[in-house]
Symmetry: C2
Subunit: 104 residues, 2 copies
């Protein structure tokens, strides 16, 4: 019985390339509660610098996991929310979080 | 609303330190089907060198995710199986695999 694991392995590695980065899991975890503005995200995760938060949000947007909406108020606001792809990743990651909280 | 994410973040990062390593996810995936001998694991994942397989199995055993049983046959055989901790991680990782296969 030799199943071709190459497709699974390549995709899983791609997934971990995204979610393995520091803060990504936590940003997705927070956005699972609903859309947040940049300032709100930064307030909720104070240890995460604005520069790093910006970088991670940009990466997650490029991966199609986040929507970014600019609200033309004064001052201008930017709101982030999970796409369907992002929501489903958040749901999957929740299982890993539960495991980690139980076993580590 | 500021929740202390430090415990969650530390544990989740620890989890990704384990599962982010190449081949770990696949080894656990294969062992979710049941105990396997070293030779069987190597046959199922041919791209994984014996040296690397050995290294990963040792790490997973040290993390408490694997049981290792030596069978005193001639020649001696070594059988690996997931502990309860390992089984639950495998179940959690399955959700990430399903997401990856669907979205990546």
């Amino acid at each position: 019985m030799k199943q071709d694991f190459k497709p699974l392995l390549a995709k899983v590695e791609h997934a971990y390339h995204i979610i393995g980065k520091k803060w990504v899991n936590l940003i997705i975890h927070v956005l699972m509660e609903g859309p947040k503005r940049f300032s709100e995200l930064h307030a909720i995760i104070p240890d995460l610098s604005k520069r790093m938060l910006n970088e991670r949000l940009k990466e997650l947007e490029e991966c199609g996991l986040l929507n970014r909406v600019v609200i033309p108020d004064r001052p201008v606001k930017t709101e982030y929310s999970l796409t369907e792809k992002g929501q489903e990743l958040g749901a999957a990651l929740c299982h890993v979080e539960v495991w980690a909280m139980k076993w580590l």
